[in-house]
Amino acid sequence: MNQYSSLKNALIAFFLLLSVLYALPNIFGSDLAVQVSSAGDKLIAKSDLDKITDTLKSKGVNYKSAALSNRRILVRFDDNASQLSAKDTLKTALGRNYVVALNLAPSVPLWLSNLGGKAMSLGLDLRGGVHFLLEVDMHAVMAVSIDKHYNELRTLLRAERLYKSIKKEDERIVIRLKTADSKDRALKIISSELSDLVVLESNNKDELSIHLVISDSAKRDAKKNALKQNITTLRNRVNELGVAEPIIQQQGLERIVVQLPGVQDTARAKEILGAVATLEFRMVDEKNDPQTAIRSGRVPIGSKLYYFKDGRPLLLKNRVIATGENITGAASGVDQESSTPMVNITLDSIGGRAMLDTTKKYLHHRMAVVFIENKVETITKNGKTIKKRTTTKDIINAATIQGTFSSRFQITGIDSGRAARNLSLLLRAGSLSAPIEIIEERTIGPSLGADNIAKGVLSVIVGFMLVLIFMVMRYRVFGLVANIALTFNLVMIVAALSLLQATLTLPGIAGIVLTVGMAVDANVLIFERIKEELGLNSNIQEAISSGYDKAILTIADANITTLIAALVLFGFGTGPIKGFAITLSIGIITSMFTAIIVSRAIINKIYGGKKTKELSI
């Protein structure tokens, strides 16, 4: 009695060995590293690795090792100074097609990582970094969508001279027509050409008008596309910033989570992520005087009034020569002649052709560069929260065209080197399709992260030791067995977290601590039951066996209910709560295995099938 078959014992031993193996990567610590990955579609190749090692050798930067794996190159260093100088060196040497970022690389031995062993991934609260929750301004997305449909519709109907008037009213388009016949024709055109528009039938008192809204599916598509496009743009911008292992994910229908481990300059990160900036190139209206237009309040037809940042007005032609969308390359630099900051621009073929035509035609005229920025902010005013949307259009410069040019030219007149760098970065990464707003920010400095790890680990160890001592005092040999089970439980939690690559956060560590406290519960239940059985029945073997059997149902019931609570936590929780729920759930499951099966296996080895007179319990 009380003996597991050798197969069962072997299986248990195998499981335990496996968890020790996969928990192992966590004890090796990590190296200071520089990570190089591709910024575009091009894959990192062996030749890149050679180039990196050659560059570092030629510049005399010492490195520990350099290796290519998982489509990225990790160069490890012994000290902080060489890590930083390597980052700068590589960034200049490799250019824009690569993302060069500082990183901490787990120093897991090769044989272990070949077996799939990975260290736990640490949350931002443990490693330091920034977490942003961004919300896309869907109101703006809808406005753009309405505009687009309105323009298409107007062009179509104008071709056939069908309408008396057409205008936008909030989220609908209202067309007034001349005759019932033209209404029918208009409706036919709409249904065949513009399937995204839905005709509103109700409250249509006026017989000769059509009210249109965008269909729900088209609205959904527009929002989905805006979100997707913004995520792509954000990813480009983050790549430009140079962050190792960033997370950029959709959350819900309107939000994007951006996590940048290790980023300290949050001000710059915010500036870069949130900016919806683009450029427009327009000709200056030289025939009219802006001052006259301001005084009379009448802007000449075909022109519009713009201002420089310092407030000087200028009339610009309505026709746009090229926009930020035509820009394929942008690099900041310093203008040799004036030694002021500038941005080198490269246009695509369409933009280049338009620019060539314009510069030929308007030689010695002035061309202006307009910087457009859309912002959305939530502010609290008199206790009410409101969304504030602003669009600023500033002229950054207006220079005389000295000669014809097409796709390559320079923009000067930028305030500072920093502004030039930011502008070129934003132009390269592409513009956001709709303004976004940061609605949540959590930044953890590296010192606090290290602090949190130290404190978390210390409390796990101390709590664990206290429980171990207490259990031995109370249950002697059985207590010792429970302690072994508990230790394995801890190992299994770590192994499970490492294998799942679930993010460990400070609340997650708290979850582990709590699990340690609660995991012994199962053993306590069993041991108390065995004690009781010993009181009722003098046969030791039967007491052990029925003690386990009777306790198991109770343990299952108690743990399943706790698991329900943990799963609900996981489903509803965000960041910190999720971390807690994950470790708690894993802890509950592993504790059932260790407290029931592992402890039983050990007890069986000690007492099973032997003629023992007394249990040390």
Binding site: I439, R442, T443, S459, L534, A565, V568
Partner: protein, 306 residues
């Protein structure tokens, strides 16, 4: 091997005192919750929080002066852990949202270590509050269904009564002491639900077992017996859990402080409630041996009648 001595404490007989005690605590808690409310952290109210470390001791008055010059409203500055570290809290402002933290960092100067910045928009805060409430509700419903399915509806009601009792009292203590209630405290309260339930289920399991295995039908005797039999387990588990929580409370750092405190309170209240509240409740609902007999057998018995 020691002779086993199961204590013979008359828990059920003394339940009237327990009921008075619990009611008193609940009334005080609800009173405090309705008068003082909870001191919600920025996770729920929205706002900005900065944890800043200095090289040397810092004077709070200086920091307050710097910040009040910038005309922020609803500023709260306090020490955090030591006199070298401070915590700055700001209400949602009228000037701007996400840029606020950058502005404060600029105002504080270069020689500070920005340890933590949290900004939560008002809308996000509102959602977290709603989601938190919903999470608690769904957890309770899920548990109710499981316990009703595994035991009987009276047990489900008993365990839910105990849980609501625990949650109200824990919240009440947080309200009385005006300890900040943030996301981690919410997580702790949900963990308390899990823990207290664990405790209650163990007792219920024993009550059911005793009802089915003995010839006694007096529920008072059976419940008393079950409570005494599980008493040492209840206390042992509470002690081990409290031990680790104390480690967390004293060593886990400031960030985890209120989390550990909520759990400490919750575990004590939860242990008490699984002994007194849950069992008093099923007794009051009139549990009997018949209610616990497996229903299939009953049906079979009826079917087998001639």
């Amino acid at each position: 091997m020691k002779a086993l001595n199961v204590p013979k404490i008359d828990f059920v007989g003394k339940r009237i005192y327990a009921i008075i005690f619990s009611l008193l605590l609940i009334v005080v808690s609800i009173f405090s919750l309705s008068i003082n409310g909870l001191k919600f952290g920025i996770d729920f109210t929205g706002g900005t929080l900065l944890e800043v470390g200095y090289q040397r001791d810092v004077d709070l008055a200086d920091v307050r002066a710097t910040l009040s010059e910038a005309k922020f409203k609803g500023v709260n500055v306090q020490y955090f852990g030591s006199t070298k570290e401070i915590l700055i809290r700001l209400e949602p402002q009228s000037i701007s949202s996400a840029k606020l933290s950058s502005k404060i960092i600029y105002l504080l100067g270069d020689d500070v270590d920005i340890r933590r910045v949290e900004f939560v928009g008002p809308k996000v805060g509102e959602e977290l509050t709603n989601d938190g409430g919903l999470a608690m509700l769904y957890a309770l419903i899920g548990i109710l269904i499981y316990v009703a399915f595994r035991f009987e509806y009276r047990f489900a009601l008993g365990s839910i009564a105990a849980l609501i009792h625990d949650v109200i009292i824990t919240l009440g203590i947080f309200s009385l002491l005006q300890i900040e209630f943030d996301l981690t405290v919410l997580a702790a309260i949900l963990a308390v639900i899990g823990y207290s339930l664990n405790d209650t289920i163990v007792v219920f399991d024993r009550i059911r077992e005793n009802f089915l295995s003995t010839r006694h039908t007096d529920p008072v005797k059976i419940i008393n017996g079950a409570l005494n039999q599980t008493l040492s387990r209840t206390l042992m588990t509470s002690i081990t859990t409290l031990l680790v929580l104390l480690a967390l409370f004293f060593l886990g750092g400031e960030v985890i402080h209120s989390f550990a405190l909520a759990l400490l309170i919750g575990v004590v209240v939860g242990t008490y409630s699984s002994i007194y509240v849950a069992s008093s409740m099923i007794l009051a609902l009139g549990i009997s041996k018949q209610d616990l007999l497996p229903s299939e057998k009953e049906e079979q018995a009826i079917d087998n009648r001639p």
